[in-house]
Amino acid sequence: MAVNDTLEGTHKIIESAKEQEPRINPLVPSVNDFNQELTTLNLGPTHPATHGIFQNILQMDGERIISGVPTIGYIHRAFEKIAERRPFYQITPLTDRMNYCSSPINNMGWHMTVEKLLGVQVPKRAQYIRVILMELARITDHLICNGILGVDTGAFTGFLYLMDEREKVYEIYEEVSGARLTTNMGRVGGMERDFSDVAIAKLRAWLKTFPAVMAEFEKMFNRNRIFMDRVVDVGGISAERALNYGFTGPNLRAAGVDYDVRVMNPYSSYEDFEFEIPVGTKGDTYDRFMVRNEEIWQSLRIITQALENLPEGPYHADAPHYYLPPKQAVYKNMEALIYHFKIVMGEIEAPVGEVYHSVEGGNGELGFYLVSDGGRTPYRLHFRRPCFIYYQAYTEMVVGQTLSDAIVTLSSMNVIAGELDA
């Protein structure tokens, strides 16, 4: 009886299947469905092509993007809150972790903000050393961005060439600060140590070898037909919209606005150096790529000038209240011990006031708005993170383009998740 029941049941299923429209594969929508339905595509949060953790929910009409909803905050670490409980020198490691492709710029920007608040004058040699390190950081930042853009268009070779060069710059960082990626470099009042002979030798060697590699990279990409087809007129933004969106840095300059903090509000002796600000015309992915390439050459010019004219003298300010004394002196010298204790315990006297200082970061104007009530920690610290501000334009830039264009646009904007989410 059980056997009969089963057979009858099977029979019914086969009969009902015959009544329906024949379909080759029920999982694949029919031709009619394509004309009527939009596809919702989850790009991210962990997608290998986004190089960071951010989600975009895209509405797709076939291959075209109709609209997008970006979600950020996946690696939010509440730096602004944490900074309200830390003495000034303990905030430097937080800045490392914002734009981790160019940590030294963040570090120096923070030190300069505190120096401005405290009224500390940094000697010329320290300023030049800072300029060299900041420009090295800018080069590594742009190397990553442009190398990855190559990878996203299918050209892996250039990326590998550039990674090799970035490695050499990291060795210079290591010589100067002991760290490679999150450098925690410099101190309030100057540098923690002078350039050693090894650091100078490594820098000179790198300055000799790097231009040839960079020239080869440019030769591979700049006029490459396949590459240009992928990036020209992709993800463009007009100068007017870019300004309205608060763009700064290479992304704004690619749109044709020559705003550079290093020139408009020079800090750390940038006025001593001769360099040019490259600008683009259309603000598309190709312009951003070319502006970054040219900025690498200009940074090399600055480094060469700074190294040739590196002044003699102390590498930190004579400000014992704020600058950590050398460890040897702490063990032997009473004053050094007292100052060491006061600084480490956060007992230094900070004036009441508010200060805004900005530096030209790898991605644009990196600003620090510091409100001090005279206490050991900032009362309020706000980071103006260029990535956070310009990433909101992403949706507008990719609507109407294809998914593969969206990937290269994201890549060329150089959105760094750490800086985006802080």
Binding site: I72, L243, N244, V257, G353, G375, R380, H382, I389, E396
Partner: protein, 187 residues
């Protein structure tokens, strides 16, 4: 500490020679001309950056007016952020706006303060596209409500968070711990 014996005219003469102070004095007179003298209170120049406090009723008009003004061209919103001063009765919450003129290289800082019980501020998203996420951030951190904002939801924290973490009543350390007092280690 400034020299107490120095006479006030001498200080004014010194200020007149300082180009940054001159620039700020010019900017302030232009602002007074545009929006009226009584619009701005607490005018200061901390570290050379002209800072003025105004009211939330006027802030939108002022920033719109500065954006349109051809002489100043203060049409770049560098950044804006919230603040919290619990001890200021009726003025607990604040917003700070940094404006920048890229053609003339003038910076201006505007502040508004308002009670925490009524944290409502007009949005700037109709003037600046960049204000969108900055205002969402201020809402997320401080619970400031921007009227007219197209999409005022949390941006960095999770959606189901039921407090605004940057307000000063939320201590960073676990409040139940007794082994870490603030006596020696900070506020």
């Amino acid at each position: 500490m400034a020299d107490q014996n120095e006479s006030i005219p001498a200080q004014e003469a010194a200020a007149a020679q300082d180009p940054a102070a001159q620039k700020n004095a010019q900017l302030l007179s232009l602002l007074h001309g545009l929006f009226g003298e009584d619009t701005f209170t607490d005018v200061e120049e901390p570290y050379g950056l002209l800072t003025a406090t105004t009211t939330r009723e006027r802030i939108h008009d002022i920033i719109a007016g500065l954006q349109q003004d051809q002489q100043l061209q203060l049409n770049f919103l560098t950044t804006m952020c919230g603040m919290h001063f619990p001890e200021r009765e009726g003025q607990e919450l604040g917003m700070v706006y940094h404006l920048h003129s890229l053609t003339q290289n003038i910076r201006l800082r505007l502040k508004i303060f308002f009670p925490i019980a009524d944290p409502v501020v007009p949005t700037l998203t109709d003037l600046y596209a960049t204000a969108n996420w900055m205002e969402r951030e201020a809402f997320d951190f401080y619970g400031i409500i921007f009227t007219g904002h197209p999409n005022l939801i949390r941006i960095l924290n999770v959606e189901d968070m039921d407090y605004h973490p940057m307000r000063r009543e939320y201590a960073l350390e676990d409040g139940t711990r007794e082994d870490k007092t603030d006596l020696f280690f900070g506020r």
